[in-house]
């Protein structure tokens, strides 16, 4: 229990300071700053001990505790240090300020998220992924596509397509379709490459077996190639959620129709409204995590048989 004691003492020292310095606008004197330093140190040591003790737990709630405590410790330390040194909110706002702002501007941020996540990123993602899977099927079927097209897909999947954002915004216009186009293109190439690998890296023995049963090409795809490709496809789909969010937000930096998380971040960063910027980042992260989680959930439903999900 020594870890918990240290952790609590560390938090108490910092929180006591935060409460005491809540209304002040001066830099805290050395003594108080040292007490924060001690608090940070104690909580860090305590956290290490607690995490060490919980390392082998099988209870998922307890297993998550060290991560949650780390976040809490970082937030408390940031709050205390920012207040102690009176860092202006126009540079780095305190966590409490960001949370209060998140609450007051929640409606507008939700509208922004609707525009950025559901319209731009999701539409682009769905288009890019479906086209990608379709292309991969064709490429795996026709050798001339594999020779003529696949090298370029591999090449493009390794360059940052987001650099195309300004070009696409200029070509397609400032409304949401230009951002959806950016997202579609960014997710398309990794999906093509991964799906193709999944469809073709099939065990030769299985393929021989199918052929000896005189399975048609359709049947080979349905019963062998597609199941084999699913884990590869889902890897690309999960990677794609992140790429689509990045594409949508960065795309809005190059022109936006008055809405969107990227628009909000750009406008408020230029006005030193960093509390709103951080609030928008929190909303974007939450949306990204939920989305990633959904894809992972579908993956488990469809590929539960795969070796990576087997319980030891």
């Amino acid at each position: 229990m020594k870890g918990w004691g240290l952790l609590t003492t560390g938090f108490a020292l910092q929180i006591a300071f935060i409460v005491r310095w809540w209304e002040e606008s001066e830099v805290a004197p050395l003594g108080l700053r040292l007490s924060i330093g001690l608090g940070v140190l104690l909580s860090a040591v305590g956290l290490a001990q607690v995490a060490g003790r919980l390392a082998h737990t099988r209870n998922p709630l307890l297993g998550f505790t060290p991560a949650a405590l780390t976040l809490l410790a970082l937030l408390v330390a940031a709050e205390a240090l920012l207040r102690a040194y009176q860092v202006p909110p126009g540079l780095v706002p305190t966590p409490t300020r960001v949370l209060a702002t998140l609450y007051t501007v929640r409606d507008v941020l939700l509208q922004d998220a609707y525009q950025t996540v559901l319209k731009e990123a999701l539409v682009g993602y769905l288009i890019g992924c479906s086209l990608g899977v379709l292309t991969a099927f064709l490429v795996s079927r026709y050798l001339f596509l594999e020779r003529g097209f696949l090298p370029y897909a591999t090449l493009f999947s390794s360059i940052p397509i987001v650099a195309l954002a300004p070009v696409l915004v200029k070509m397609v216009g400032i409304d949401w379709p230009s951002k959806a186009a950016i997202c579609a293109i960014t997710v398309y190439f990794p999906v093509v490459v991964n799906t193709f690998r999944g469809l073709t890296e099939v065990s030769p023995i299985s393929l021989d077996l199918m052929r000896s049963y005189a399975a048609s090409e359709m049947q080979q795809y349905r019963w062998l190639r597609l199941p084999n490709a699913l884990p590869f496809i889902f890897n690309a789909l999960k990677l794609g959620t992140t790429l689509a969010m990045i594409g949508a937000i960065v795309g809005e930096f190059f022109g936006a129709n008055g809405q969107g998380l990227g628009f909000r971040i750009q406008i408020e960063a230029g006005r030193f409204g960093f509390d709103i910027v951080w609030a928008a980042i929190i909303v974007a992260s939450a949306a990204g995590i939920v989305w990633y989680g959904l894809v992972t959930w579908v993956e488990r439903r469809l590929t539960g048989w795969h070796v990576s999900f087997r319980r030891g």
Binding site: L91, T104, F254, G255, N257, G258, I267, G270, R271
Partner: protein
């Protein structure tokens, strides 16, 4: 052999004295508010005609796109910068210790342009439900002030869920959004107005709403720095204080501006066009860089040669103008309190010009 060594010694001596002269110059980074164009003619003249060097300064003029010059100066990437009053004061309110040290333009050049065919006559009444093109990074404040003055909410306001006016951001070129996506577009009287005309929408087809005429006379291009620079006792090890460097910078800059305004054709030809690339071009039928910059120089000269400048007080921030800008921003809720007195420092300007701010009539 002997001849060569004499040459060598002479060459070394010359090189040494040149290097010495270089070393004595104080390196100063000045952040402009935009890409090079005639808007900054005075700065280019001061640099290229050696006015800065005569003051012992080696000034680097830094261009910028859609970012805030305040961020560059605040972070120390630049020592001084040019920006507008609204973003300066809002940054100050959010704790960034920026200080106004000289006012270059004495009048606002911000306009909103609409096609006559959209039927916008009374801008406050007719703007509701419309889309307005704005530039981000603090350049949207004049438009925001107008929306607020008209009692309209906009999508730039993070608390308005159902805004009356949709603000559309776009990269640089008004042709990207005007007139298809927005009914009104931000346009500087010295730049975009001519670009829009070049696209086929000249004065006969558009209405130009000057914000100054609508009661939004927010001061524009000004010189600023941070308290950290001003209070520096030994600026970059030069032996000069931050204030002295600021004063020398102001003196040479104003000298540059006076020269530019008096010799406009030569300024554009020799000092603007050589430093500017693509961004100096106009649009459509008025794309030619030289013509566009010549026109811009004339328009910019009008903003410089106004108010205090005409009374021989170039660079002076007229207290009444400043108070009017502050009052306007407070009335429209863009500022929540009066900026602290330290936001404006007349000291460097007084040192530069030998005048005293309190003698202003």
């Amino acid at each position: 052999m002997k001849k060569w060594s004499v040459f060598a010694v002479l060459a070394l001596f010359v090189l040494g004295s040149l290097a010495g002269a270089q070393q004595n110059l104080v390196k100063v980074n000045l952040q402009l508010k935009w890409f090079p164009q005639a808007q900054f003619a005075g700065f280019f003249v001061a640099k290229e005609r050696g006015f800065y060097r005569a003051q012992g300064l080696d000034v680097t003029l830094l261009p910028i796109g859609d970012q805030s010059p305040i961020q560059m100066v605040q972070s120390g990437a630049a020592d001084f910068g040019t920006t507008w009053i609204a973003d300066l004061l809002t940054a100050r309110e959010r704790g960034i210790p920026v200080v106004h040290i000289a006012q270059i333009f004495q009048r606002s050049g911000f306009t909103l342009v609409a096609l006559k065919s959209t039927g916008i006559k009374d801008i406050c009444r007719d703007m509701k439900g419309k889309s307005v093109g704005v530039w981000p990074s603090g350049n949207e404040y004049p438009a925001v002030a107008l929306f607020r003055k008209c009692g309209l909410t906009s999508s730039l306001d993070p608390r308005a869920t159902n805004p009356d006016v949709t603000a559309v951001t776009y990269p640089f070129d008004p042709a990207l959004v005007f007139p298809d996506k927005v009914q009104l577009v931000s346009a500087m009287i010295y730049n975009e107005v001519n670009q829009i005309a070049g696209l086929g929408y000249d004065e006969s087809k558009v209405d130009i709403f000057k914000l100054a005429d609508l009661g939004i006379n927010l001061l524009e291009d000004l010189l600023f720095t941070t308290e950290r620079v001003l209070n520096n006792r030994n600026f970059k090890g030069s032996g000069l204080t931050g204030r002295q460097v600021a004063a020398r910078l102001i003196r040479a800059t104003l000298q540059g501006w006076n020269w530019a305004v008096a010799n406009q054709a030569e300024t554009v030809e020799k000092y603007v066009l050589p430093v500017c690339g693509n961004t100096c071009k106009g649009s459509g039928t008025r794309a030619d860089a030289k013509e566009h910059q010549t026109w811009q120089m004339a328009e910019v000269a009008k903003l410089y040669n106004a108010g205090a400048t005409t009374k021989g007080w170039a660079g002076f921030l007229v207290p009444a103008d400043y108070q009017a800008s502050v009052r306007l921003l407070r009335e429209q809720g863009i500022l929540t309190r009066d900026p602290p007195a330290a936001t404006v420092d007349y000291g460097p300007w007084e040192l530069a010009t030998g005048k005293r701010a309190r003698d202003w009539r």
